[in-house]
């Protein structure tokens, strides 16, 4: 960002919720751009201002107009992101002690992990005491696959007529959940704990599909549910919801 004539005020705001410090840069024609402090510090000029602590009242000479400022900002932001892309990995540790190194972006498919990272608490490893290595490796597989698909430049065309048979990820997902019941429930618990919506929906829907078309007795057998109704109680429940049982 160049420097010459008009004045600009750089202000520093601390957000209450997040620990990421933000700064607001104001261009010569009055538009404000809020960016992460770390991003803004790509500019040595701004970096010095912030480090010197003079930011609250300093008038910095900038003649940068809005459009220039925004494009510079976006270049700065993307550079920072590229930097992250090349280096940022996180290590996830399962309950039975195994470590998995994954790209940060993949790990952030989990909202839980995302918050941990954003809160700055992810130093070396993120321990996941509720997830075994077997399940964690599957979860990582899911996140990787879905992150890849989301990152594809040609968005999968959600056109009216599906000329291709199925969305390729749908087939992959179907294969992914062809596991034994125990693994399936472990995946549900992991997806819930790690807050991965897509995986939670996929696994829960799979269980729902296992219930479809079955009589209650068949459902009990499939899931080993013990019937603790007395015959009278059971008859009463049937009568209350009669339409459903016809």
């Amino acid at each position: 960002m160049a420097s010459s004539s008009t004045s600009v005020v750089v202000s520093n705001k601390e957000k209450e919720n997040k620990n990421t410090k933000k700064v607001t840069l104001k261009s010569s024609d009055g538009e404000s751009f809020e960016v992460d402090e770390s991003v803004a510090m790509e500019s040595q000029t701004i970096k010095h201002i912030i480090e010197d602590g003079h930011y609250s009242s300093l008038a910095l000479s900038l003649s940068v107009k809005t459009t220039m400022a925004s494009s510079s900002t976006s270049v700065v932001v993307s550079n920072k992101e590229k930097e992250n892309k090349n280096t940022k990995k996180v290590t996830l540790k399962s309950s039975d002690g195994e470590s998995f190194e994954v790209d940060e972006s993949v790990a952030m498919e989990s909202q839980t992990i995302k918050h941990i990272i954003e809160d700055g608490c992810a130093n070396n490893e993120i321990p996941l005491p509720n997830v075994t290595s077997g399940i964690l490796s599957r979860v990582i597989e899911y996140c990787k696959k879905h992150k890849e698909a989301a990152g594809e430049s040609e968005p999968s065309v959600t056109s009216y007529t599906s000329n291709s048979t199925t969305n390729p990820l749908t087939e992959w997902d179907t294969e992914f959940v062809k596991v034994d019941q125990n693994t399936l429930f472990d995946l549900i618990l992991a997806a819930n704990y790690l807050d991965i919506k897509g995986l939670l929906d996929l696994t829960c829907k799979t269980v729902a599909d296992m219930m479809k078309g079955k009589t209650p007795q068949e459902i009990r057998e499939t899931f080993h549910i013990k019937n603790d109704y007395t015959p009278e109680e059971e008859a009463e429940v049937r009568k209350e919801n009669q339409w459903a049982f016809e």
Partner: protein, 540 residues
């Protein structure tokens, strides 16, 4: 959906440490150890009727299903026939819905779907819809049939701020209250709706300020002359006219599932476009104003003056699809954002060709165009206009649904379109010929060869390939003329080759095609036979 808190999850997952070696046969009640919220999430993927059945599994399950936030009621009755619902069953259904609405936890309802006959229960049904609205419903799907008394949707529906998707399938006059607001509505589907006038149609579209997808199917536009769709985020527009010659009252016999073999299958929207082949007019549903249209066998009844003029503004329109006789005009401000345009006609006739041409002028900057055989036939019938087709400079993909090659006019129409698409890189034929027996002469020449064949055409795909002479000739000509072709993909019509020597026939055809001279030195040919697959639409 709430997350379980960590402590309870640790408690519940004590058994999980052994899960690697755990024997399923041991019969542990894993589902019983899940938190209520997760079980309810599982149940939310079931129709409410199936979820209700879980009440009987054990004591723990007795009321779990009631507070699921996704409600889906389908009465399972006949909607399209005059057959009467057994009154007892009807009563049980009505009681069931009410019981759910009364007994559930007063938590939010995120999805509410209702499919049933109205008969003389307008006020009860209206109340149910109001209940969903009051519980900040996000996705509302209402399909009502057999309206036996005056029916009006509750006015609170029309300013429901939480609504993101609204699907209405009701043959009824749309009466809007004075205050209408849909500030969060992203998807709007209207099926069989009757618009009373320009003003209400316009009002409705205007308040949908962030609308992304709009589906207008079998609606009655006779009282609307013109309407503007200017939501800045509109991406998909789908218009399907009433099919005047089609009157079917035997579909949907069991009300639950119906297999319809569709070549153009909107799988994404199948739940909403279940009526695609079963327009829905019953004698007792006819509104006085529109009696002239009902069950008319004569397509000419809908003359141009009945058509509504749609003006579509905005630069984010990506998908445009029109199915019908192009009675309604569509003026698209900027078609350069359009990624896919589909035109399908109900009939092949001259006047339809004229109207199709008008539409095509508005789509001249689209990137992909799909036409069905009737649309091509209509254009062919109006062959004097073919030279006046616009140039499709941005068109890189053309998809023809059933190209009827035996008629010279239609071949010419297709060739004209190809000549007007200088940047075409991909061409697809879903079916090359309807008639396999042809006793004419095969004196076709591709003269002049469309420019794109020499400069841009890289991929040709042909599906539903039979072994007829016409198709083989077409393939031969295409292979010879497309001089920079990289890929030709042919897939057989599985039904054609299902007999005993099907495989042998496939082999022969394959060898024949592979032996044709190729105009492009780097052309690869892929030939396959896909498995038979009957496309199903589920009628919910």
């Amino acid at each position: 959906m709430e997350r379980m808190d960590v402590s309870s999850s640790i408690c519940n997952t004590k058994n999980q440490k052994f899960s690697k070696e755990h024997d399923v046969g041991e019969g542990e009640n894993r589902i019983g150890n899940l938190a209520d919220a997760i079980v309810q999430h599982i149940l939310s993927f079931l129709p409410t009727k199936d979820a209700a059945k879980t009440s009987i599994l054990s004591n723990r399950w007795k009321y779990l299903w009631l507070s699921v936030s996704v409600l889906d009621f389908h009465d399972g009755a006949y909607h399209f026939t005059d057959a009467e619902e057994p009154p007892r069953k009807r009563k049980l259904f009505m009681d069931f819905v009410e019981r759910v609405l009364l007994l559930r936890e007063p938590s939010t309802i995120t999805n509410f779907s209702l499919t049933c006959n109205v008969l003389s229960d307008s006020s009860r049904i209206t109340t149910w819809i109001s209940a969903a609205v009051k519980h900040t419903v996000q996705v509302l799907n209402i399909r009502l049939y057999k309206i036996g008394e005056p029916f009006m949707l509750p006015s609170c529906l029309f300013n429901c701020e939480s609504l993101q998707e609204l699907h209405l399938n009701i043959f009824n006059l749309l009466e809007l209250p004075s205050f209408v607001s849909f500030s969060n509505l992203k998807i709007l589907t209207l099926i069989r709706i009757v618009f009373p006038d320009d003003h209400s149609a316009q009002k409705l579209f205007k308040v949908c300020s962030i609308l992304e997808e709009l589906y207008l199917i079998f609606c009655s536009w006779e009282n609307v002359k013109a309407v503007c769709i200017s939501s800045p985020k509109i991406q998909k527009l789908y218009i399907q006219e009433k099919d005047p010659s089609y009157c079917n009252d035997t579909d949907d016999e069991d009300g639950e599932n119906n297999s319809v073999d569709q070549n153009n299958d909107s799988d994404n929207e199948s739940d909403n476009i279940d009526d695609q082949n079963s327009p829905v007019y019953l004698n007792d549903d006819i509104d006085d104003v529109h009696s002239s249209d009902e069950q008319s066998d004569d397509a000419d009844d809908q003359c141009d003056s009945d058509g509504c003029q749609f003006a579509v503004f905005g630069t984010s329109l990506k998908y445009f699809s029109y199915m019908g006789d192009f009675v309604h005009g569509c003026h698209i401000q900027d078609s350069s954002s359009i990624v896919e345009a589909h035109l399908q006609a109900y009939n092949g006739a001259r006047e339809i060709g004229y109207r199709a041409l008008k539409l095509l002028w508005g789509l001249s900057n689209a990137k992909s165009l799909e036409l069905d055989d009737n649309a091509v036939e209509s254009l062919a019938d109006a062959d004097e206009l073919l030279d006046h087709l616009p140039m499709f400079y941005s068109l890189t993909h053309i998809h023809i649904d059933w190209a009827v090659l035996i008629y010279k006019e239609q071949r010419e129409a297709l060739l004209t379109i190809l000549r007007k698409s200088p940047s075409l890189s991909s061409l697809k034929f879903e079916g090359l010929s309807c008639m396999l027996c042809y006793s004419g002469t095969y004196d076709w020449t591709l003269d002049p060869v469309p420019g794109c064949f020499l400069t841009h055409l890289k991929t040709i795909e042909i599906s539903m390939f039979n072994e007829s002479e016409i198709e083989l000739l077409a393939v031969k000509i295409l292979l010879k003329s497309a001089t920079i072709l990289e890929k030709m993909v042919i897939s057989f019509n599985p039904w054609q080759f299902e007999d005993a020597d099907g495989l042998k026939k496939q082999q022969e055809v394959q060898e024949q095609i592979l032996s044709f001279p190729r105009g492009s030195s780097s052309c690869l040919i892929a030939i396959s036979c896909p498995p038979k697959k009957k496309k199903k639409i589920e009628f919910c």
